[in-house]
Symmetry: C2
Subunit: 404 residues, 2 copies
């Protein structure tokens, strides 16, 4: 049987048009302002086809003409830019100590970015659904005031999410089998746009790949740095989810059989020895998830003051993290591993030790070329990726209908 | 910039024809005998296009008409099958104790499969090149007698291979920076077909995906079971090589910091605790690589006789292997992990322990659906994959020219 996984397939005409609409849209996103002739020259599509595709995209209010003309020999050309002003995509991240909401337009420009303390680890799934719905309604009100049509809401969760948007296990939230997508759609009273749920690391990886400084690379792995440590794996330009969508569960890879007890019941898991609970083990062993952010701020303050005990702890955390990075790099040889979440704030002290340990454990010379860096997207990576997932859907040809 | 990694691109007309030729060829490979109408119905290509493509493929002697007609209502249709009889693809595997050669036709049918003892670990790269060239010449003579055109030779090597076919490091062969592809082409006096080099685990994974009983799955990881342990990673139907082509180096992932010393200088690497040297640690600690095969046969004999010490050793090896499988499964969630090489012979004793340890360490319930199985392709998996790599090249549209 020929299947989508094993090779190219001939497309029917509707597919070809959808694909080409998406190609033109992406070309303009990446090269605006540009003319119809530029699009034809770069994509290999003929000019009549490009004109028809551009007209369609203008009808859908995805492109608009600027009136500017290109400075060049010959007849001046009308320049095109992304429109997308009537649209918004919303992403919300649920984590153990906070909710983050991001809204973006079709150009990927951030319309808002809000972070709220929320006791995700202590709340019941029902309480969390209510809080996410309340936050989503506030974002929706803001979008309504700006007369934007909301294309969808994606929620990022630190757990195993199946293809239907149901959360199988989210250990650090204490969840099992929560139909988050369904419950949230109900709480929002069937809002008329899709409500999707996905793993936080997967979505943050998408955000890094789309918006981060390493966006051009084919192979990128993102590591979340919260109480939990998860990975989002992009290989050959696409998120790789595995057979049931459970790829990236690096947090429970055992890096030290004699290491600390993990919440999962096993011992020496990466997140037990290199997650935020391990960072706080000496200074605030009894910190609740809700206290995570201020406690990590304390650690950063002490590290800046060169507190020897804290520096030792962070170097140790870096070493353990380096072991996890080595597993990723030996296994997948990505071009870049991006550290996210609280690792960003801790990077000045954690990163050098992680880099050194990774280099020691890399089979390939020079670490196989894998660079280890801190995210520049900060805390909003997962929420931004959640919103961006809707842009990916548009980029693959599922466009909003023409506006009347 | 739009690049091949980030999404669909419009194809020019030559590409479309090459793609469609490849689609028809693959359809017939998987559905022969079939008619032109079957192809049109299943691929969405129109009948005139299919007729033209089929005529082209018959000219290239890739398809032929059988004269059989399909039993159905209406005008009888001429049935098509793969021809490919004038072609052969050759694969040779170099390992620490043997060379394996396989030749296949375009239908994937094995034309020959030879295994020779060869002291790969003790030989110099020059001696190995001479031995591979001698074996290749014998295969070429056989193919010449059958009047087959050789499409290419691919050599499988247990080491890091760069994109130019140069072997950076092959620790168990004792190689560093060997231009195997260039040296071999010279030894064969520029044979007029491509001489490729690739990692053994990558090629074995391709063979499992193409010829094994799990061929339909999208996500498959193959583990070699030699002195070294390497992985070939297929995700979403394609081999994933990483940024510099060094993906799959699972053999030097540390599974036990207190474990045995590894040849790489590190401690407790997967191949040190679960590779064939570990299997022979108690019964034949001083076995040379050349003695590997008979020693493993002894182990199998003792295990069959329920020797308690050997059963204990194999269960221990299985447990260590299960840790490695858990790393793969937590990280990538493949549908199947295939154990190859000597693990196949040892599977009755190693597999249950590996399965149990993997289940304990899997984050996803039910092992995330990942099945752990022994290869049915046996020792020839890598060589078969080496030959099959040339078929993949044809499947992606690089066809041999029409025959006159």
């Amino acid at each position: 049987m020929i299947n989508a996984h094993t090779g190219p397939q001939p497309a029917d005409f509707a597919d070809v048009r959808a694909t080409n609409l998406a190609v033109v849209l992406r070309f303009v996103r990446e090269n605006a302002p540009c003319s119809r002739a530029d699009i034809a020259a770069s994509t290999g599509l003929n000019k009549a086809t490009v004109s028809s595709l551009v007209a369609d995209l203008i009808d859908r209010r995805l492109l608009r003409e600027t009136g500017l003309t290109e400075n060049r020999v010959g007849r001046p050309a009308t320049m095109l830019v992304l429109d997308g002003s009537p649209y918004a995509a919303i992403g919300i991240e649920v984590n153990v100590d906070h909710l983050t909401a991001v809204a973006i337009d079709l150009a990927g420009t951030e319309l808002l970015s809000w972070r709220r303390s929320f006791p995700g680890a202590a709340a019941t799934p029902g309480q969390t659904v209510a809080a996410v719905a309340a936050l989503a309604r506030r974002v929706l009100n803001r979008m309504a005031k700006e007369a934007r049509q909301v294309l969808g809401l994606t929620v990022a969760v630190p757990g195993l999410v199946d293809v239907n948007g149901s959360v199988g296990i989210a250990p650090n939230l204490g969840w099992r089998d929560v139909d988050l997508s369904g419950d949230l759609a109900k709480a929002l009273r069937d809002p008329g746009f899709p409500v999707l749920v996905d793993n936080d690391a997967n979505l943050a990886a998408l955000a890094e790949h789309r918006f981060g400084p390493h966006g051009g690379v084919a192979d990128l792995v993102y590591l979340t740095g919260e109480v939990g440590v998860g990975a989002g794996v992009i290989l050959d330009g696409r998120l790789r989810r595995g057979g049931r969508g459970f790829a990236g569960e690096i947090g429970h890879i055992q890096v030290d059989p004699a290491g600390a007890q993990c919440r999962c019941g096993r011992r020496g898991c990466l997140e037990a020895v290199a997650g935020m609970a391990a960072v706080l083990h000496d200074t605030a062993p009894d910190a609740t998830p809700a206290e995570l952010e201020p406690e990590i701020e304390d650690i950063v303050r002490l590290a800046r003051g060169a507190d020897p005990s804290v520096l030792g702890t962070l170097a140790g955390i870096g070493g353990e993290l380096g072991k996890g990075v080595a597993v990723i790099a030996n296994m997948l040889n990505p071009e870049v591993v991006v550290l996210g979440g609280y690792y960003v704030a801790l990077a000045p002290w954690v990163l050098p030790a992680a880099q050194a340990e990774f280099a020691r454990r890399s089979v390939a010379p020079d670490g196989g070329g894998t660079r280890l860096v801190a995210s520049t997207l900060g805390y909003r990576a997962a929420a931004l990726g959640a919103a961006a997932r809707l842009l990916d859907s548009i980029d693959s040809g599922r466009l909003p209908a023409a506006q009347t």
